[in-house]
Amino acid sequence: MASTEIARQAGEGARTVPLAGHVGFDSMPDQLVNKSVNHGFCFNILCVGETGLGKSTLMDTLFNTKFEGEPTQHNQPGVTLKSNTYELQESNVRLKLTVVNTVGFGDQINKEDSYKSIVEFIDAQFEAYLQEELKIKRTLHSYHDTRIHACLYFIAPTGHSLKSLDLVTMKKLDSKVNIIPIVAKSDAISKSELAKFKIKITSELVSNGVQIYQFPTDDESVAEINSTMNSHLPFAVVGSTEEVKIGNKMVKARQYPWGTVQVENENHCDFVKLREMLIRVNMEDLREQTHTRHYELYRRCKLEEMGFKDTDPDSKPFSLQETYEAKRNEFMGELQKKEEEMRQMFVQRVKEKEAELKEAEKELHEKFDRLKKLHQDEKKKVEDKRKSLDDELNMFKQKKTAAELLQNQAQQAGGSTTLKRDKERKNLGFL
C-alpha cells in the first residue's frame, strides 16, 4: 500500500550538516547524566584472596567507611562467597555498592576446586541478568544489576612469584570478569624486592596467557594517565582504617616501631593509584566492559549451548521463540516418555507383588486346611479311643455284674469252698 524509502546519502548513511545557530542539543550529555543521577548507580566488586590478606580492610579504606563483619576463621571446609550491599552517597551521587568476599579461599588442604565456587557465582549473576533480559514482561531499567564489575585479586606478599592457586584461579576468571591484581599487605616487602616481584608477576601472567584488565587508552583525556597506570600493575597496596597523627594532620596509616606506613602516601604504597583507577577514572568503563564483553560472551555461549542459532541453513533468521518451542516440545516429549516408562515399570512391579501375595495367601489357606484336617483326624481318633474305652468299661461292668450275680448264686447254691474254687475257676476264666 505504501512504499518505504530510506534515502541515505554518502558515507555511513548520513551527511554532515553545519548548524546556522545554537540549537541546544549540547545539553544532551547533561540530560543523560541527570537521568542517571536520579536513577542511582550500582557497582559490584569481588575480592578474591586468601584469608588474612586484608581484603575487608582494603574495602573499608577505599570507600572510607566501616563495612560490618569480623575476620573469618581459617577452618572453612570450602570456598563460599559472601556478598554485602551498601548504599553510599557523595554529593548528589548515590551508589549501591556490593562487595563480595571469598570466604575460605586457600585454606583447604586440597585446593583443586577452590576456583569453582567463584566461577559459579559469577556465572549465576550473569544468568540472573540473562533471565531478566529474556523475560517477556521485563523491567530492565529498574533491575538491580548484580554482575561483578571488577575483581580485585589479592596476591600474597611472598616476594617470589605467584602461587599456582593464583595462576589457576586467574586463568579461569579472566574471561568472565575484569581482573585487577594487587599485592596485598605490601608493607611486608621492601621497595627493591617489590619492583622485582611486580616484574615477576607480570611476566608470569603474560607467559600463562592470563588476560588482566587493561585501563582503556582510547580516550585522549584519560589515555595518558591510564597507560602510566597500566605499567604499575599489579598495585602494591596497604589498607588501614586507623588514623595516626603525622605533622598536624590525621592520616590513615599503620604504625610500626620502626616507622609509619601512610596509606595515602604514593611513596609508601600504590593505594592512591588503585583508588584513582578503580573509582575516579574507570568505574564507568569497568561497568561497560562487563556488560559488552564478559556478559555478551556468557550470553552467546549459553544460548549456543542451548542450541540456538542466528540463522538456519536457508539463512532465514530463527526467532528465539521458535527454538524455544521446539526445545520445549522435545523436552516435554522426553519427559512424558520417561514418565510412561516409569509408569509401566510401576505397573509391572505391582503385578508381580500381587502375584506373590496371592501365592502366599493360597499357601496359607492350604496350610490352614491341612491343619484343620489334622485336627479333625486327631479328634476322631480320640473319640474312637474314648468310645472303645467306654465299651471296654461297659463290658467290664457287665462282666462284673454277671460275675457278682454268679457269685451270689454260687454262694446260695454251694458251700464256701466250692465258692473259692469256683472263684478261682472264674478268675482263671476271666484271665
Binding site: T4, E5, F25, Q31, L32, E87, Q89, K96, I136, E284
Partner: protein
C-alpha cells in the same frame, strides 16, 4: 532508593563530613558523572523524529528551523517535485550534526501524502507499519546471539503531528490518527502556521483541542502516567497546559531591531519565530531538544518498545502453540495430565521455559 538523602545533606553513612580536609574523606564516587559524560560525548547521540501532516502545513520548514540547518527532505532532494504521491510514502533522511563537541545523528522521517487524498481511510496504516518495523528490527537485533556492541537505534522517538489552523476543532482524521498512534509512539501535536490565528482564537483553539484529546482518551507527550515524581509532574503539568504548541517556522533571517533573527516578513509586520510573544516555537524547541530529549528517548525505549516486544513475543508464542506439533511425544495423557503449558504465566513465559531447559542441561 527512597531513603537516599537529598544533595545538600550528605548521608552519614558513606563519607566523613570533614569538608575542610578535602582529600581526606573524599572517595571520588561522583567522578562517575564525569566518566559518563565522556563516554556519552564519545559515542554521540541518535534522534529519530517523524513529521506527519497534510502537505502545505510547513513541516519541512519547521524541521529546518528546529535544527537550524537544511535537514528536511525537500532540502535534500535535488528535484523537489511538488506532486502529491499516489500512496503515502515514508522518506527518512539522516544527518550528522555537531554542537560544542556533542555529536548527534538526526533522522527526519517525512510522510508525504498523508491526509492529502480524497479518501483518507487507513492512511495511518503505512505509518504504523513503519514504526512497528523499526521496533521489529531492533528486537531482531536484540535477540540475536552475536549482537552488535551498540544496537543501531532506528526507532521513532517522537512524532510531530501538524494540526491545520482551522480555529475550530480537531478533524476526524486528526482524532483517528492520534488515537491510534499515541499508543505506539510519543506524539507531540502542534498547530501549524499559527500566524493565521489571533491570540484569542489561538487560545480557544488550543482549549478545544485539549478537550477533544481528553474526551477521546488520547495521551500525547508528556504522558501523565509516566511522570516519575512530584517535580516531574509539576514541570510536565506546565507543559500539558500549553499543548498543542502554536508554531511558526521559518528559515529566513531578517533584520529586526538591529539583530538578525529568523522570521516571516509580511506587509503588516515581521513575525519573529523565536519570540515567545509571537509564537510558541521556542517552547517546542526547548521541550524537544533542550530539556526532554533524553526523556523522550527513554519512554520510547522502555515503554513503547517494551509494549511492542511483549505483544510480539506473546504472538509468536501463541502462534507456535496453535501449530500442530510434529513431535509424536507431545500427546495428551490418558490420565488427564495437562499438556504443554500455554503462555498463561505471561510475565515469565519465556523465563519459565528457559529455566526448564537449563535444568535439562
Amino acid at each position: 532508593m527512597s531513603e537516599s538523602a537529598k544533595p545538600h545533606h550528605p548521608s552519614p553513612q558513606g563519607k566523613g563530613e570533614k569538608t575542610h580536609a578535602s582529600d581526606f574523606s573524599y572517595v571520588g564516587i561522583d567522578a562517575i558523572l564525569e566518566q559518563m559524560r565522556r563516554k556519552a560525548m564519545k559515542q554521540g547521540f541518535e534522534l529519530n523524529i517523524m513529521v506527519v501532516g497534510q502537505s502545505g502545513l510547513g513541516k519541512s520548514t519547521l524541521m529546518n528551523t528546529l535544527f537550524k540547518s537544511k535537514v528536511s527532505r525537500k532540502s535534500v532532494q535535488p528535484n523537489p517535485e511538488e506532486r502529491i504521491p499516489k500512496t503515502i510514502e515514508i522518506k527518512s533522511i539522516s544527518h550528522d550534526i555537531e554542537e560544542k563537541g556533542v555529536r548527534m545523528k538526526l533522522t527526519v522521517i517525512d510522510t508525504p501524502g498523508f491526509g492529502d487524498h480524497i479518501n483518507n481511510e487507513n492512511c495511518w496504516q503505512p505509518i504504523m507499519k513503519f514504526i512497528n518495523d523499526q521496533y521489529e528490527t531492533y528486537l531482531q537485533e536484540e535477540i540475536n546471539i552475536n549482537r552488535k556492541k551498540r544496537i543501531p537505534d532506528s526507532r521513532v522517538h517522537c512524532c510531530i503531528y501538524f494540526i491545520p489552523p482551522t480555529g475550530h476543532c480537531l478533524r476526524p482524521l486528526d482524532v483517528e490518527f492520534m488515537r491510534r498512534l499515541s499508543k505506539v509512539v510519543n506524539i507531540v501535536p502542534v498547530i501549524a502556521k499559527a500566524d493565521t490565528l489571533t491570540l484569542e482564537e489561538r487560545d480557544f483553539f488550543k482549549q478545544t483541542i485539549r478537550e477533544e484529546l481528553r474526551a477521546n482518551g488520547i495521551d500525547v507527550y508528556p504522558q501523565k502516567e509516566f511522570d516519575e515524581d512530584a517535580d516531574d509532574r509539576m514541570i510536565n503539568d506546565k507543559i500539558r497546559e500549553m499543548i498543542p504548541f502554536a508554531v511558526v517556522g521559518s528559515d529566513q533571517e531578517y533584520q529586526v531591531n538591529g539583530k538578525r533573527i529568523l522570521g516571516r516578513k509580511t506587509k503588516w509586520g515581521t513575525i519573529e519565530v523565536e519570540n515567545i510573544g509571537h509564537c510558541e516555537f521556542a517552547y517546542l524547541r526547548d521541550l524537544l531538544i533542550r530539556t526532554h530529549m533524553q526523556n523522550i528517548k527513554d519512554i520510547t525505549g522502555s515503554i513503547h518498545y517494551e509494549t511492542y516486544r511483549v505483544r510480539r513475543l506473546n504472538e509468536s508464542n501463541a502462534h507456535f502453540k496453535s501449530q500442530p506439533s510434529d513431535q509424536p511425544a507431545v500427546q495428551p495423557k490418558a490420565n488427564g495430565q495437562p499438556e504443554v503449558k500455554p503462555s498463561a504465566p505471561q510475565a515469565n513465559g519465556v523465563a519459565a521455559k528457559h529455566e526448564v531447559m537449563s535444568h535439562e542441561m
